[in-house]
Amino acid sequence: MIPHFQRGDFYGEVRVDGKDTVENNCASIAYSVGSVFQDPEAQIVSSMVDEEIAFGLENLNIPRTEIAVRIKESLEMAGIPELRHSSTAQLSGGQKQRVAIAAAIALRPKILVLDEPTSELDPKGSMDVFNTLGKLNMEYNVTVVVVEQKIQYLAEFCSRLVVMEKGGIILDGPTRAILANQEKLKEIGVNCPPVTRLVDMLKKEGLYQGEFPINIDEAYLVISKVLSGKRR
């Protein structure tokens, strides 16, 4: 485990499918867990995108016809169907990240673990990935554990936030409750949604006492309330 990162997770605890990770080797765990590492260059092994996705599936002895279906499906879910026949060496950093995500999705794992999967992506690209993860979680019941910095976008998708520092877990709970710990989060250096930070500043001035907003709609209501306080 690396110290100094923040994690968001979507769905309950990560149980590696009932298997103890010390007693079971990687191969057996691979049936349950799909991983996307922080550096896509360290993970991509094939020269072509479709081969990259096929690689993991071949290792699991998935039949060839099924492989073709999953390649198409996973590339669509990752938002890059047009890259199917592309060479992996010519892709941009962001495209490589999406290929790594597609390859993990194609395994149809019960648990998806991602380490900073959007670090190279632009805001829309990041949102597309978060939307895909949200869909996998809600519609396909995939447990998602994702290490991320972009909390301002991710907050809406996660049901639970786990905040780590120096090898230990400092905060762990429902997203909104965790974001309320503004002082602690600031101290650790977590990137909270800007609207949350704004309301925290207003709270410190004694201008607001309610719940922290985590998106623009909620923040609008809070600010409206604060501004209407002038007449008193």
Binding site: Q95, G189, R197, K230
Partner: protein, 278 residues
């Protein structure tokens, strides 16, 4: 200081990546170049230190014609921080990495040590000087690359995604350092995806889309141009979008940072002014 005239660039396979760009960047500016993945931002930056030469048009940097000047000479004027630090780090220790550029510039041996320590301290990596850079985290390697660039003392600093791969607080520390350098007179050109970063630090914003410039102006104007930004898969900063909802009531016009919005709320609540003066 930097003049780009009718710049076009195409790769050998014929793809025209930059189309007729015209930009003038004055000394001391802090400009952000934004756009979606593949818009041509990095290609544009690579013209600034001579890594790429224009297919058409020309670029003048501090009086030098970038197409005709050696990259080693341009390196004295422009310091370049790549998106992936591993593309520019290669020495076995952090110290040697930072010293390398200085040696190439012909700096006196006796002067190198101070410059290396100075740069390492500024960036907060002095404890790693004897370490192999490749055993450091990506964020730390980015700082090593930044220290190498800072040590050279160039007038212009070009940063390609300076906070990608960093923790939020590490990223802010780097940006505060860059801001301080800009206040001291360095020209800064930054490519980034992070709209919050642009809102907080950039004075001028250039939006690149499919190799052409679709917006170029003061940050407070460009950050509100939602259509152009949407075209580039970008969105105005979160605070701007919140502020916009209050525009009809007369609040927060031209506001796009947390601090500005807070200040305006306070002065409205405390002052005699009504909404339209806020």
């Amino acid at each position: 200081m930097i003049r780009i005239d009718n710049l076009s660039y195409q790769y050998k396979n014929g793809n025209k990546v930059l189309k007729n760009l015209n930009i003038t960047i004055k000394s001391g500016e802090f400009a952000a170049v934004i756009g979606q993945n593949g818009a041509g931002k990095t290609t544009l930056l690579k013209h600034l230190n001579g890594l790429l030469k224009p297919s058409q048009g020309n670029i003048t940097i501090c009086g030098l014609d970038a197409a005709k000047t050696k990259t080693s000479v341009l390196a004295k004027k422009i310091g370049f921080l790549f998106q992936n630090p591993d593309h520019q780090i290669f020495c076995p220790t952090v110290y040697e990495e930072i010293a390398f550029g200085l040696k190439n510039l012909g700096v006196q041996h006796s002067g190198i040590e101070n410059l290396v320590y100075g740069a390492a301290e500024k960036v907060g990596i002095e404890q790693y000087l004897k370490t192999n850079p490749f055993s450091l985290s990506k964020g730390q390697r980015q700082r090593v690359a930044l220290a190498s660039v800072l040590a050279m003392g160039t007038e212009v600093l070009v940063l390609d995604e300076p906070t990608t791969g960093q923790d939020y607080s590490e990223g802010i520390e780097i940006m505060e350092l860059v801001k301080e350098l800009n206040v001291q007179g360095k020209t800064v050109i930054m490519v980034t995806h992070d709209m919050e970063l642009v809102a907080k630090y950039a004075k001028r914003v250039i939006v690149l889309h499919n190799g052409t410039i679709i917006e170029d102006g003061p940050a407070e104007e460009v950050l509100g141009r939602e259509e152009s930004l949407a075209l580039s898969n970008l969105q105005p900063p979160q605070v701007y979008l919140l502020a916009k909802r209050f525009h009809k009531q007369g609040f927060f016009k031209g506001t796009y940072t947390v601090e500005d919005m807070f200040d305006e709320i306070i002065s409205y609540l405390e002052g005699e002014e009504d909404a339209s003066n806020g």
